[in-house]
């Protein structure tokens, strides 16, 4: 096995799934490497949950192949020890307490009862539910129930976490806590695949982003790659006094495509370069020009397109890869 293959923990190859007449997934292919935080984004009904359910074995009648740690899901259908799953919509029986639910799921995951007590304490501490350990689940808030879903997914210490809309229904504080937990888990070498229809959540924590629309993967890449691909060229923002007087000279610098000016209390110039420009060299030249001409600036920024622009581009019917 090559090093590249050894790094891959999840591999989807031409996976398709149909619900009666509706094609939920069409030739979905992607690879997730160990330690990645893969943010899977798309509108409601785009096919995110179907993808995740295939991965955890809840959907079995699909075409194509899914490899987990190099083994096919079809020939080795039980990867439950390797995978922890936080489902989007799931209920707990009303009579259960937090502690009892975790004991049951732990035992069903094959854990020993003697190990469970300590492990439950650790997990509850991690997700911030220690105080409600003996409370009935039906009396927990939506945010607490979401954390409990995460707790049951973490109980058996899986290497891969599949989280379906983990931030859904959380208030801003819980959302912040959930993101921190995910980051901590990734730092402890867990591989995380999470879905969301909220771009901000994905942009905040994902190391790789997959965009899906109507069952078709539109684009996969790191946040930086996706941002870079959208721009016509890098841009630099300058803020200072009387910058408008220098527009013509800046326009004449190598590779400058256009210069836009907005004036308020200060002048704000946006210098856009052509796509093949080495932005480091361009910055040096621009700085040298400003220095030679004794032009004082108060602010200097590299401008990148936002992930929102990238997302909207694909959702509006961008190219399919």
């Amino acid at each position: 096995m090559t090093n590249e293959k050894q790094k891959q923990i999840i591999e989807f190859t031409n996976v398709s799934k149909k619900y009666k007449e509706v094609e939920a997934l069409i030739d979905v292919s992607f690879v997730i490497n160990k330690g990645d935080i893969f943010g899977y984004i798309g509108h409601n009904g785009a096919g995110k949950t179907t993808t995740l359910k295939i991965l955890v074995g809840l959907i079995r009648d699909y075409t194509g192949d899914v490899l987990i740690a190099g083994e096919s899901l079809k020939s080795h259908p039980d990867f439950s020890n390797l995978i922890g799953y936080l489902p989007q919509d799931v209920g707990f029986q009303e009579w259960r307490t937090v502690n009892h639910a975790l004991i049951t799921f732990g035992l069903l995951s094959g854990m020993k009862k003697s190990d469970l007590t300590q492990r439950i304490l650790e997990i509850l501490e991690m997700v911030g539910l220690t105080d409600v350990r003996h409370r009935k689940i039906k009396y927990l808030s939506g945010g607490m129930q979401q954390k409990l879903k995460l707790a049951q997914a973490l109980l058996h210490d899986p290497q891969v976490l599949i989280l379906d809309e983990p931030m859904s229904g959380l208030d801003p504080t819980s959302r912040f806590q959930m993101k921190n937990i995910i980051r901590k888990l990734a730092a402890s070498e867990k591989t995380i695949l999470f879905s969301s229809h909220i771009l901000g959540d994905v942009a905040d924590i994902a190391t790789t982003i997959g965009i899906i629309k109507e069952g078709v993967i539109q684009r996969i890449g790191s946040p930086l790659e996706l941002q870079n691909e959208l721009t016509e060229g890098d841009a630099i923002e300058l803020v200072g006094h009387n910058l408008s007087a220098s527009i013509t000279k800046i326009q004449a610098l190598p590779n400058v495509e256009r210069v836009e000016l907005t004036s308020n209390r200060h002048d704000r110039l946006v210098v856009t370069y052509s796509t093949d420009t080495d932005i480091q060299n361009a910055t040096i030249l621009l700085m040298a020009f400003l220095s030679e001409n004794k032009i004082a600036i108060q602010n200097f920024n590299y401008l990148k397109p936002s992930l929102e622009q990238v997302y909207l581009k694909y959702m509006a019917g961008g190219t399919t890869q």
Binding site: L58, D61, D78, S80, Y85, P87, V90, Q93, E94, T104
Partner: protein, 220 residues
């Protein structure tokens, strides 16, 4: 392994949700009520009368209990958290089935024992005939409840509405389970205990096998 965990979990659920309490107290209470509501049983011992009542009512209870519980849990996606673990699908159904049957059997035995006690104080010591008739009732009740429970599970798997599941369970679960009582109505000299067991066991097994097959193909 997963069967034992799920079975004890179901029993715990019955205790926590007070269903076990309602069955264990409610059904024996019926036996006592029978004595006060219908003191003139035209020679039929209370134990036998209770047995007949429980055969009919216990079956309906079991069918409704199982079907509505499965529909509720399926709709709430409770099973997702089981099925992502090394749990065999059929164990989920079998654990539910045996937990309900165990509860109902204990409630039935308690009810019949109270019926026998009442008979002891009203018509004297139970004769061998009364004792055998009570035993017949017990086996018949269990056979009827076994079939009804199996039908309840089948309805729970096939139906998505709790209301519809309850109605179908009452119609089908109760009526079909009474098949074990029919020979007693038409023939006088038939061995009811033997017939109930001979019909109840294979019919229950067949229905359970069918539902295990359907459940294993079900999409979650």
């Amino acid at each position: 392994m997963s069967f034992a965990i799920l079975f004890w979990d179901e029993l715990r659920g019955f205790v926590k949700s007070k269903i076990m309490l309602a069955l264990w107290i409610g059904m024996p209470l019926l036996a006592i009520l029978m004595h006060f509501i219908q003191p003139d049983t035209e020679g039929l011992p209370i134990s036998v009368l209770t047995g007949m009542l429980i055969s009919a009512m216990g079956g309906a209870l079991a069918a409704v209990l199982l079907s509505t519980s499965i529909v509720n849990e399926s709709n709430a996606k409770v099973y997702d958290l089981y099925l992502i673990r090394p749990v065999k699908r059929h164990n989920i159904l079998l654990a539910k089935y045996f937990a309900v049957i165990l509860n109902l059997c204990i409630a039935t035995i308690l009810s019949l024992a109270i019926g026998l006690l009442i008979d002891r104080f009203t018509i004297g010591l139970p004769t061998e005939q009364i004792f055998m008739a009570t035993l017949d009732s017990l086996v018949m009740s269990i056979a009827a409840m076994s079939i009804a429970s199996a039908i309840g599970i089948l309805i729970g798997i096939l139906v998505k509405s709790v209301g519809l599941a309850a109605i179908l369970s009452l119609y089908l679960g109760q009526q079909l389970s009474l098949i074990v009582m029919l020979p007693g109505v038409y023939f006088e000299n038939i061995n009811l205990m033997l017939f109930s067991a001979a019909v109840g066991i294979p019919l229950t097994i067949i229905i359970i096998l069918v539902e295990i097959f359907i459940f294993s193909k079900k999409q979650f």
